[in-house]
Symmetry: C2
Subunit: 183 residues, 2 copies
């Protein structure tokens, strides 16, 4: 992506939790370890973060997880779902996109300013492309041994700029990075 | 291990660095990414930590790495090397042990109080056995995509107690945990 990228006016942010050994979920997607470790978590900064975004870009796995929620968590946000197989989604103000470029062009055409990128696979795509502005990782104080990794294979190293570190309640460590290369 | 463990008077500590994606080295053992990321690191707390230990317990991989150093880094420390194949080591005040139990019995018999456990495999053994008191992890602000993981498979979750989080120079985040279960 260059300076003429459709994302040049779009801030892209991810906000994720992982175990200290780097997993966002157990192999079957289970989050019991995170819910247990985070039972006493109070303000993680998520609420402020969520208010600040005007749109969400998620992958199919995240879509399936969220579709099973009792309460729809993205109310009031424009939602773009990346999927090669979904035809439509029933959420309000949501569309399906076959490619990242299609989603980015749509966000640009609609004048979106700040997109919340969620789901391990989609976050990895943004990291690989050097298109992620802000990455917040909250590290749970637990090792689970196996699972779905937050990060994945890379063609080359991705250097990050730490913008803050803080201790959250319940023994979580939160680190915030700027991930998009300068220029 | 129970209250009658030979380690009951022995404090066990690990002090490691990893990439944000959880690797202690590239697949070939390479540390270039860490040396580059940490070029501007000043005090990481390592010097104070090293002064506080009276002994070291390392694995064969760590032995090989250290044996290639120009300057011997463990001067003044009792060193125990875990290896199934090494016959002897030429370092002063160093012995080879075939099993973790043999090493722990030796440390107990010698009245050691604080052992620095180093090397991914050995640290993992201590974590799995619930025998690691202190774990300090310095997280480099870089993703390398592939490598030797700091942590590994587990039979069950290992819950950790965060004892501190701080930001180091050069964009590192350092988290310190108590890893041995209470009681």
């Amino acid at each position: 992506m260059t300076g003429t990228s459709p994302t040049r006016n779009l801030t892209t942010s991810a906000f994720l939790a992982m175990s200290l050994d780097g997993f966002i979920a157990r192999p079957d997607g289970g989050l019991d370890w995170l819910l247990e470790a985070g039972a006493d978590l109070e303000d993680t900064g998520y609420d402020d973060f969520f208010v600040a975004v005007d749109s969400m870009l998620i992958g199919r796995n995240t879509y399936d997880i969220v579709a099973a929620f009792d309460e729809y968590p993205y109310a009031g946000k424009r939602v773009l779902v990346l999927s090669s197989s979904l035809e439509t989604v029933e959420w309000s103000d949501a569309t399906v996109h076959r490619s990242l470029n299609s989603a980015l062009e749509t966000l640009a055409a609609e004048g979106r300013r700040h997109v919340y990128v969620d789901g391990g696979t989609v976050v990895q795509q943004f990291l690989r492309a050097g298109m992620l502005d802000n990455l917040t990782v909250s590290i749970a104080p637990v090792l689970i041994g196996f699972g779905i990794p937050l990060f994945g294979p890379l063609d080359s190293d991705v250097k990050l700029e730490l913008t803050g570190t803080r201790e959250l309640p319940a023994g979580f460590t939160q680190a915030t990075y700027r991930a998009r290369p300068p220029g």
